[in-house]
């Protein structure tokens, strides 16, 4: 059994090398150069470059048809070898920065990665001679590069936090830059991290969504609102029109992070506005108008949430009885929409704006609850109606039975 297994492994490897090595001397030689080289050949099978029909010499140059190593890897024949870290952006950029060449493979692929990379902190430091920063192959993993939409790719949204965390969670590596190493842990516990890593929602933001891909930089005080506002546009709009915006600007506060934090952004409940545990008290003492506004908004939102919860319970009760609750669900959806709008309106820091949406939600929730309770009542009526009609039909059956008995006994 074991022998057969090893034989099959050998066969599979032979087939792999055969498929790669059709007229390719690079593969034939490197396949005999130990486990490391074999691993590269195996990994390259799934590489996007291999899928696009490229081979070793497409990146490393040289002559793949030459049988002897000297001719095959002759620099005068165009052999470039393996790039150093410093050479890597130009090495990859030779093709990836060439729009004409890239168009022949994928016209929609951007060609500004190299340009952006040198605007990033990674790129700037590399240019300055720091070989510890990330270059292309650190994130994309040389020889097993897959497109970002491939779940096995190191840059697939679900894998991005681990890929970045590989360096940014390393205290030894980060100590030289005086950077914290808890971002990955904080992110994993955040509302975004849970959505992406636990629920598998690939639309949830990963590191690159806020920091950028090739031009990765930490967003500063001035532009953090734009970063969050890419997804939370309405929140940004409300905030900028709010009375708080000016004070924030004067005090150089991070627009979003001051209340919601950086990487450990928790799911915001109304407790954020609470006088006891909320964030408002950081700046507003209990006798200020700001504190009172926060408390009033919290009370309104709590009322809406409670009403929405009750509606859900009523709908469930009707559904469990097999009743049609389409209308109640439509109204409940409207109530939920109102709740979300009211929550978003908190960023206007105006009680009347929150109240406007909250009242809409309360009205829809009340109608939904009524529709659901009507359905439950209707169900009871149906059962009573059924009971009465069943009794009547049963009485009729008994009467017919007695009539038959009477008919047949009188005949006897």
């Amino acid at each position: 059994m074991r022998q057969r297994f090893f034989f099959l492994c050998f066969l599979a490897q032979a087939v792999l090398i055969q498929s790669l090595s059709a007229q390719n001397q690079c593969v034939l030689c490197h396949a005999t150069m130990g486990e490391d080289h074999e691993a590269i050949l195996r990994a390259f099978e799934g590489d996007i470059h291999r899928q696009a029909g490229l081979s070793c010499h497409s990146c490393h140059g040289g002559d793949p048809e030459a049988a002897d190593a000297g001719s095959a890897m002759d620099p005068s024949a165009g052999f470039r070898g393996a790039p150093s870290k410093k050479e890597m952006p130009q090495f990859c950029g030779r093709c990836h920065s060439d729009p004409k060449y890239m168009k022949s493979f994928n016209p929609s692929l951007p060609v500004d990665q190299e340009l952006k990379y040198f605007t990033s902190n990674h790129g700037k430091r590399l240019k300055a001679g720091d070989a510890n920063v990330a270059a292309c192959a650190d994130c994309h993993v040389a020889h097993s590069i897959r497109p970002a939409k491939d779940p096995l790719s190191s840059v697939h949204p679900k894998n991005v936090p681990q890929t970045c965390g590989h360096c940014h969670s390393d205290p030894v590596l980060m100590s030289a830059y005086h950077l914290p190493t808890d971002q990955l842990t904080k992110y994993s516990e955040s509302v975004h991290g849970k959505a992406l890593l636990e629920k598998g929602d690939s639309a949830a933001p990963a590191c690159n969504t806020c920091h950028g891909n090739h031009g990765a930089v930490p967003p500063g005080v001035e532009n953090i609102a734009h970063v969050c506002g890419m997804c939370h546009a309405q929140n940004e709009e409300y905030f900028k029109a709010s009375p708080m915006a000016k004070a924030w600007e004067t005090r150089k506060y991070h627009i979003c992070a001051t209340c919601h934090n950086h990487h450990d952004i928790r799911h915001p409940t109304t407790e954020v506005l609470s006088g006891e545990t909320g964030v408002c008290k950081k700046c507003h003492s209990s006798d200020t108008a700001g504190f009172k506004t926060g408390t009033a908004m919290k009370e309104k939102l709590d009322q809406v949430e409670e009403s929405y919860r009750e509606t859900g319970g009523a709908i469930l009760a009707a559904e469990e009885r097999g009743m049609d609750v389409t209308d109640a669900k439509d109204l409940s959806d409207a109530a939920r929409m109102g709740l979300y709008q009211a929550r978003t309106a908190v960023h206007s820091f105006r009680v009347e704006t929150v109240t406007e949406f909250a009242d809409k939600s309360l009205e829809a929730a009340a109608k939904a609850k009524k529709a659901a309770l009507d359905a439950v009542r209707e169900f009871r009526w149906r059962r009573i109606g059924l009971g009465i009609s069943t009794l009547l039909i049963t009485a009729l059956i008994i009467l017919i039975y007695l009539k038959i008995k009477d008919l047949e006994s009188s005949k006897k």
Partner: protein
């Protein structure tokens, strides 16, 4: 002084000879024996047909056929129309019960050997009625245009496409194109509300006429007989009322769901199966190997199912040719095996 009813009956009698009809019913005798209880199954089928007709006509008042209106109108019927939920559930449950009783009626006739000469044509029309009922069920299942119905119809009609030579052509006729679309819905609707009721009514009329002309089987061997009217008729009504009660209870406690609207572009949900009365055939086709003697397994399956149905249909014609002393044993064996295979395959299909 004559009462109004007597006057009315007298008026009708002068024109339609009602008394002659009543006298005929009184003279008509129904044999009473061990298997008499199965006689009611036929009557229940007629009752359920009338119930389907009644509830179907009411549903038709609100149902609007079309890819963009069928689902919405069924939703409207169940949620907005007064007693619409009841009519829809009664129609759905009635259809299922009707097929149950048609099967009971058919097997009871088979085991009582009531198909024998001179009742061969009664059996033949009965078989046609069963087939019509199944097509009725299949066509009606699609009409709410929900996800389950859509994919069950897709799977069901796929089988037609497997028939050699004419399969693809037939498939296109049934579906109104290559795929199950709004065109399929329109033709299933036409079939369900116009063609099938007419065919079923005509065949049922012939079936009932044959029963009247030939009388009941076992008439000469039964220990006692009762008049059809009122004795047997009242018993029939009693059974109808019991079935009506059961249908109403099922409709109230297990209302038929509207489900999710059919989405032509979505992938089939897991565990999609046809209605229970097609499950035995579906399971049989499913368990056959991909190829048997280089011919696709499904093709063998279709051939075997059709051959078995044809043998069953022709029972009254081949059975008399069996050796007399073996006839009863062979019939019991054939009927028993058919029943066991059908039940076992249906259960297997249901639980697999």
């Amino acid at each position: 002084m004559k009462t109004l009813t007597e006057n009315l009956i007298g008026w009708l009698d002068e024109r339609l000879s009602i008394h002659a009809l009543i006298e005929f019913s009184r003279k008509k005798q129904v044999p009473i024996h061990r298997g008499s209880v199965f006689y009611y199954a036929g009557g229940v089928c007629v009752f359920l047909f009338l119930l389907q007709l009644f509830s179907g006509i009411l549903l038709l008042m609100y149902y609007r056929v079309g890819g963009e209106s069928s689902y919405e109108s069924v939703q409207y019927i169940t949620s907005k129309v007064e007693f619409g939920w009841l009519m829809r559930s009664v129609h759905s449950w009635g259809a299922n019960l009707m097929i149950v009783f048609v099967f009971i009626h058919m097997f009871s006739v088979f085991f009582m050997k009531a198909f024998r000469k001179p009742r061969e044509l009664t059996w033949v029309t009965g078989f046609v009625l069963l087939s019509l009922c199944m097509v009725f069920g299949f066509s009606g299942y699609l009409l709410p245009w929900n996800e389950l119905a859509f994919f069950a119809t897709k799977v069901g009609t796929d089988i037609i496409g497997q028939i050699p030579i004419v399969g693809h052509w037939l498939l296109k006729i049934v579906r109104g194109g290559e795929d199950v679309t709004g065109a399929t819905l329109s033709r299933f609707f036409g079939l369900h509300v116009a063609i099938l009721p007419a065919l079923l009514f005509l065949t049922m009329s012939a079936h009932l006429a044959f029963v009247q002309i030939q009388g009941m089987s076992h008439e000469n061997t039964a220990p006692r007989k009762i008049p059809f009217f009122p004795n047997f008729f009242l018993r029939d009504v009693m059974f109808w009322l019991i079935v009506l009660n059961v249908t109403c209870v099922l409709a109230v406690f297990f209302p038929w769901e509207v489900g999710k609207k059919a989405d032509l572009l979505s992938s089939a949900p897991a565990g999609i199966k046809p209605e229970w009365y097609f499950l035995a055939m579906y399971q049989f086709l499913k368990v056959l190997p991909a190829k048997i003697l280089l011919i696709p397994g499904e093709l063998w399956g279709i051939f075997i199912i059709n051959a078995a149905a044809l043998m069953w249909f022709l029972v009254p014609f081949w059975e008399p040719h069996l050796p007399e002393r073996k006839r009863d044993r062979v019939l019991s064996l054939v009927g028993g095996s058919a029943m066991i295979v059908l039940i076992a395959m249906t259960l297997w299909g249901y639980f697999s």
